[in-house]
Amino acid sequence: MNCRLCQEKMEGYRGGTLPEDIMTQVKSHLEVCSSCADLYRMMVITDRVIIGEIDTEADPFLATRVMAHIASRDEKSAQASLFSRVLRPAVITLSMAAALFTGITLGSLSQPLAGDNLIPEELALSDDSALESIEYLIND
């Protein structure tokens, strides 16, 4: 038996599912071929690793942890939905009202300057207020 054939039959050999004569051939090859023997050993170790991991028990409080996590998330989302249903529209309305009030207040703060009525001499002619009233012209 060569290495290639031995490696093909290795799984069956490990499971004991091969015919007796093939089992004997694989066994004799493993006794003389170190690389195939090493591979077979690794195959056994792979099985052990998998079995060891399968046998590992999960945290006994895992279900409690999951339920607690879900409950806290539900609580948070309930709070968030209260905010989105009631508080958010209220906050938006109040913000708009505050913006309007601020605008009106700022607008009413601006007063005409004290010297606004004074018109420079050079502009006096173009100042409509300096012209005579049309009523006087009509009366004339």
Binding site: S35, C36, L39, M43, T46, R48, G52, E53, A58, I70
Partner: protein, 159 residues
Amino acid sequence: MVFRTCIGFVHNKDDADDLTQETFIQAYESLSRFRGDSSFSTWLYRIAVNASLNRTRKSPLSMLMQQIDDLRGDSKEPRHVSVPDDDDPEKAIIRQEDIERVRKALDTLPPNQRTAIVLSRYDGLSQKEVAEIMGITEGAVEALLQRAKKSLQKKLGGK
């Protein structure tokens, strides 16, 4: 069943616990999207596999950090689950190295081969069930398992 799937990907009890928790929370949150096209367990397995693959897929940043840690020699030793050892300490040391080799070989398999191996070996699912979870044909699952075995043999020193 979810825990077994997760531990098959991460080989670490704490990470498997976290992943199991993540899987159930994700399932709870997306329960409304479960249409019943497949069985509930198939749907749950899919969530577990996706969560595990996402966890094992390392970001470039974490790989860089790992390399830096390795260079500094202060890389954290992962807490693996124990494997039954012989009483002989010399044999046990050799086996620990071999165990790490096996885990590394399993971890470096392509994601689809790894998924097929985990579902079939760790969860003991039939090829039909694995095919349903992975959304491929039974023939494709068989081919994946064969390739995975060949690949493992090669990585572990076979021809």
